[in-house]
């Protein structure tokens, strides 16, 4: 069951947070569309770990302070949060934009980070292989392009969002624009520092990802040679929804295998 949301203050920023479970701390770092519904993937994580799912500054129930203007800012913000909550040996699990944020944290300061899991991460740009243009697509196109399995898209599109959900969707879209419009969902100064990622790293990708092509996995592997990479067949941009069980099993094996 979904935990009751709370709002905590981090570095002066009111921050929405879902927290549930016991065990090793796992920080789930959401993607461009925000946290959304309580997913089986979250339920599974929370039954095995102390799961924390914050709303990034500007997203969901979090404030949108004007001084947080970039993904590196968000990375420092979350490093502050780890210190403030005195979380140690934290396992980062970031999808899409969240994978980008996780990598920006890991290159800056990994003292409190035990491992890094990135699923279909944005953040670097391979020339000649552009991302899908999430800002040009209509909501329906975006939903259809996010998933390979169109039954999932059909199901999502058949549900009319509530007023409250529409407000959050709009807020999230403003936030992702602020952080990712230009350069488009990447930081030109990230890739050259990825050798600083020393913690155990797992990279998951949907083979049919139309947002961040799965061909990017090779570049990440090149920059973080110790990373374990798994590409999921018959899966689009969100393996934590479309290949939820397989991804969870791999993430659990990976996290449990990391020496404490």
């Amino acid at each position: 069951m979904a935990p009751t949301g709370q709002v905590i203050e981090v570095t002066g920023v009111a921050t929405g947070l879902l927290r549930q479970g016991k065990g090793k701390p796992v920080l789930f770092i959401h993607g461009a569309n925000g946290v959304g519904a309580w997913l089986p993937f979250f339920e599974n994580l929370s039954q095995n770990y102390d799961l924390l799912i914050p709303d990034h500054p500007g997203f969901g129930r979090s404030d949108d302070p004007s001084w947080i203007r970039s993904v590196p800012d968000i990375a420092f913000f979350y490093l502050d949060m780890l210190e403030q909550l005195d979380l140690r040996d934290v396992h980062l699990v970031g999808t899409s934009m969240g994978g980008w944020i996780a990598s920006e944290m890991a290159i800056r300061n990994d003292r409190r980070i035990a491992s890094l899991t990135m699923v279909g991460p944005a953040g670097i740009r391979v020339k000649g292989e552009p991302f899908g243009d999430i800002f040009m697509w209509s909501p329906e196109e975006a939903t259809r392009n996010i998933f390979l399995n169109q039954e999932i898209a059909d199901r999502l599109l058949s549900v009319k969002p509530t007023e409250e959900q529409l407000d959050v969707m709009m807020k999230n879209r403003f936030a992702v624009t602020k952080y990712g419009w230009q350069p488009r969902m990447y930081n030109p100064d990230l890739e050259k520092w990825l050798h600083r990622v020393k913690v155990p790293t797992f990279i998951g990708w949907g083979r049919e990802d139309k947002i961040v092509p799965s061909s990017y996995a090779a570049r990440w592997k090149q920059r973080i040679p110790h990373a374990r990479v798994t590409v999921y067949d018959n899966c689009g941009h969100l393996p934590h929804i479309e290949a939820s069980d397989a991804l969870f099993a791999d993430v659990k094996t990976f996290i449990d295998g990391v020496a404490a």
């Binding site: 800002f135 040009m136 529409l166 992702v176 624009t177 602020k178 419009w181 230009q182």
Partner: protein
């Protein structure tokens, strides 16, 4: 009233069947559909049309800026303005406007305008705009910072025109150690600044502030919206403690004049409907990228969630709503008079070529308008007692 002969310079030879295969005539329409031979003819004809405005008595001839679209072939409007300056002697030259947030060094805009002002010996009027939504896709500029960049660029440009240089400019988006314009503008303190806009409360409030009093031009809107926005400007001025002058209030609309209403409808129908249904349409995602409008106004707009021109509009609908003014000289005169009497309107920005309208009809339209509509309205105080003449 003052009259502006305004041009968008559309690419008329567009293959509309092919163009409809794309989501818009903006940004994503392949430029393989542009034929330079045809485009060059359009440029030549359009420049002649604008130049004729001086002979025919228009107060201002004006151009504007748009990017990567068949809707308008003026990504660099100052180039056209420069040509117009060479071909005219007295008429004012309007650039309505430059999109300030889209450039990475706004000082280049200040410099170019200062050059045009010198070359024309003080005939320049400039417009400051934010560019339309699709231009944040084409320029890559982040729409989340559109308002910040607009205001910062504005401050830099005006400062560079009015304060002795060199000075350092320290902004969030633009930082320069040396701002020192050579040449300074010809006009003192600087060319008049107009604000053409689709209308937003924030923009009107800002433009009407006493330290600016920038003339506001409502573009491509229904008569009801034009009336509303101009009234908002008037009441903003009152709240600031001054009475609005008619030369602060403008309206931009497509206009077509012929002998009779019937003839005007017949001749304008295809071209007008092409403007609104073929050249202008773009989906919501291109029109209102996130951050381009405030969160509050985006929410309101999202409820209707119409892009621009997503539903086909007929000439009759456009005329009924007052977006376009089409008819006999008497009809057209009366429509403008009505708006003037209701709002104190002082600047009529006339789009006399629109969509596919050919040269013959365009030239006839411009001449008719100048001869049979303009003289009745030009340079007269608006009927409103409380409106101050220019």
């Amino acid at each position: 009233m003052k009259f502006v002969l305004f041009h968008l310079m559309p690419y008329r030879n567009l293959d509309f069947v092919e163009a409809k295969k794309y989501r818009s005539a903006w940004t994503v329409l392949p430029n393989s559909l542009y034929d330079p031979a045809k485009g060059a003819e359009d440029y030549a004809a359009y420049i002649e049309q604008l130049v004729s405005g001086e002979r025919l008595g228009f107060d201002v001839i004006a151009v504007n800026e748009h990017h990567q679209t068949a809707y308008g072939l003026m990504p660099a409007p100052n180039l056209i303005a420069s040509a117009l300056i060479q071909r005219t002697k007295h008429t004012k030259i309007g650039v309505f406007g430059r999109a300030l947030p889209l450039v990475n060094n706004p000082l280049t805009i200040a410099e170019e305008f200062a050059m045009l002002d010198n070359i024309s010996r003080g005939r320049l009027i400039v417009g400051f705009v934010r560019g339309i939504g699709s231009e944040y896709h084409t320029s890559g500029i982040n729409p989340a910072f559109s308002h910040e960049r607009f205001h910062e660029a504005h401050d830099l440009i005006v400062k560079s025109w009015t304060q002795p240089g060199p000075f350092a400019f320290e902004g969030e988006h633009f930082t320069l150690n040396y701002a020192n314009l050579w040449p300074r503008p010809f006009q003192s303190p600087h060319p008049k600044i107009w604000i053409p806009s689709q209308g937003s409360a924030e923009t009107i409030h800002w433009a009407a502030a006493p330290e600016r009093k920038y003339p506001f031009v409502v573009t491509f809107s229904t008569a009801e919206a034009v009336e509303r926005y101009l009234k908002v400007y008037r009441s903003e001025a009152e709240n600031f403690g001054y009475e609005v002058s008619s030369d602060q209030l403008g309206w931009a609309a497509p206009i077509y004049v012929a002998d009779t209403d019937e003839q005007a409808y017949e001749e304008a129908r295809g071209p007008l409907e092409s403007l609104f249904n073929d050249y202008l349409p773009m989906p919501w995602e291109m029109l209102i990228p996130p951050g381009y409008s405030s969160l509050a106004s985006s929410k309101a707009l999202a409820k209707v969630r119409t892009g621009l021109g997503t539903e086909r509009q007929t000439l009759e609908q456009l005329v009924a709503k007052g977006t376009a003014i089409i008819g006999s000289p008497k009809t057209v005169r009366e429509r403008i008079e009505q708006m003037r009497d209701k709002t104190g309107l002082g600047n009529m920005v006339c789009l006399l070529q629109f969509g596919t309208l050919n040269d013959e009809l365009t030239n006839r339209n411009i001449e008719r308008f100048a001869a049979e509509v303009m003289p009745h309205l030009q340079d007269r105080a608006p009927a409103r007692k409380d409106a101050v003449p220019a």
